[in-house]
């Protein structure tokens, strides 16, 4: 039976991840005319209590591309939350207006709490520093599309590995497969031990390092992330670690020619613009993959396909 919700990558087995990626591929290659009928008459509510550009627009575009329609808000200040309404009451209200909810919230666990309060499906578009499963599915889809496989790859994560939820979720998803992982970060932004333990339990090999330049030649995929200012309590610490690494053409001199550089975006200064037009840069292609992947997730939770 299909899952009602998409809350955390931890809820998905290897087979379920693979099935979802296959479905995304199917939708990606489907004729537009056919695709537009899949969710005709269905409504998606996008509840973005925390700002987002890519995820929200991607959900909305995905839904419209399936023939469905979209309602919602992009800012908690324009919702009843501002009046003190609980999350539970907000989603119970919205449930009456739509068939599926996609939401982002700054508090961790918010999407799970929302999903338990309503009977329609809820898709987590990010809950604080916790999970961002749709990003994980699109990252996995991007890797599969570029490399035609996941098993056997060497994948490096660079940047904010402590607060970066995309890194946590993707590393967990990849640990279902036979991959080698490098975690490259300053000491204060290391991958949390609980994730390392979980990855290790699944038998995945990983190496932690601060040296990106030395690691580059090993990698098939480099997954770069932004040092997120909004996750720091101590801005002095943020100033110390921002600009820890910079990915540019010079750094790529020692890379495998087929290395691909991914980034969940937005970037600040971790990837030079000069890299954008090289074969290494795939972050805009990665972004575009958000559409078929979110379409697959919407279809799956609504019991279509």
């Amino acid at each position: 039976m299909a899952k009602k919700d998409v809350i955390s990558i931890r809820d998905f087995s290897k087979k379920e991840i693979e099935d979802m990626l296959k479905l995304a591929e199917k939708i990606d290659s489907m004729a537009e005319e056919k695709r537009l009928k899949l969710l005709a008459g269905k409504k998606l509510a996008t509840l973005f209590f925390e700002p987002s550009t890519r995820t929200r627009l991607s959900f909305e575009s995905a839904m419209q591309g399936l023939g469905g329609s979209v309602i919602g808000f992009a800012d908690a200040n324009t919702s009843s939350t501002q009046k003190g309404e609980s999350l539970k009451d907000t989603v119970r209200t919205v449930e009456k207006y739509c068939d599926v909810i996609a939401m982002r919230h700054s508090l961790e666990g918010a999407a799970r709490a929302a999903a338990e309060s309503v009977s329609i499906p809820v898709i987590n578009g990010g809950d604080g520093a916790n999970q961002h499963p749709t990003q994980t599915f699109l990252d996995m889809y991007t890797i599969l599309k570029l490399k035609k496989k996941i098993d056997g790859l060497v994948i490096g994560f660079a940047g904010d590995l402590k607060f970066g939820r995309t890194v946590h979720s993707l590393a967990l998803a990849l640990s279902h497969f036979n991959v080698k992982l490098y975690f490259i970060s300053p000491d204060s932004l290391k991958m949390p031990q609980e994730f390392l333990d979980e990855i290790k339990e699944r038998g995945t090999n990983y190496i932690e390092t601060e040296n990106l330049a030395e690691t580059i030649p090993e990698l098939d995929i480099l997954y770069a992330t932004r040092i997120q200012k909004e996750r720091f309590y101590d801005l002095a610490e943020y100033e110390r670690v921002r600009g820890f690494y910079r990915i540019n053409k010079k750094l790529m001199e020692s890379a495998k020619p087929e290395l691909k550089v991914m980034h969940p975006l937005p970037r600040i200064d971790e990837i030079d613009y000069e890299l954008d037009n090289t074969p290494y840069a795939v972050y805009f292609e990665q972004l575009a993959n958000g559409i078929p992947v979110r379409q697959a997730l919407l279809c799956r939770v609504l019991g279509v396909l």
Binding site: H105, L107, E108, G109, D127, E194
Partner: protein, 151 residues
């Protein structure tokens, strides 16, 4: 038997209620906290740092007119995995409850200040990842905590 005598002298007996014995020394107020007994308007009898043959020192809690359920006993298991829980009726032990660390615990406070359970009225749920080290994961924010962080 010497131990029993000391206990009886230190903390008077109950006619009706629950005795939670062999709480680790100094931890009894955590039991009071987890069971939300601060608002309990009946007698609580508390003994701390009493001599124990088995554990050296121990705490004890006697709750008048309240009978613990198995679920409540399991909550205590995180704080006092070796606790002995006796239900007392008419001065006698009417039932013994075995404490065992459950797969899921509820009602503890999540140690993550950014967890939704700290803001909305949501009953917390933790899955126990390791019954020996008592590592738990919050069902909502998915953070992993040692028992000292949630108790």
């Amino acid at each position: 038997m010497a131990e029993e005598k000391v206990v009886k002298m230190a903390v008077t007996a109950l006619k009706e209620g629950t005795v939670i014995d062999h709480v680790p020394a100094g931890q009894v107020f955590k039991v009071v906290d987890v069971m939300n007994l601060y608002e309990y308007k009946k007698a609580l009898r508390i003994g701390m740092y009493l001599d124990s043959k088995t554990y050296g020192k121990k705490d004890i809690l006697k709750i008048e007119d309240r009978y613990l359920t198995q679920d409540e006993a399991n909550m205590i298991a995180l704080i006092a995995p070796n606790a002995t829980i006796n239900i007392i009726k008419d001065w006698k032990v009417a039932k013994k409850i075995q404490v065992s660390v459950p797969d899921v615990v509820t009602g503890l406070r999540c140690g993550n200040p950014r967890c939704i359970t700290r803001y909305d009225k949501i009953k917390t749920v933790f899955s126990v990842l390791d019954k020996k080290t008592l590592k738990v994961r919050c069902h909502y924010c998915e953070h992993v905590f040692g028992k000292e962080e949630v108790i």
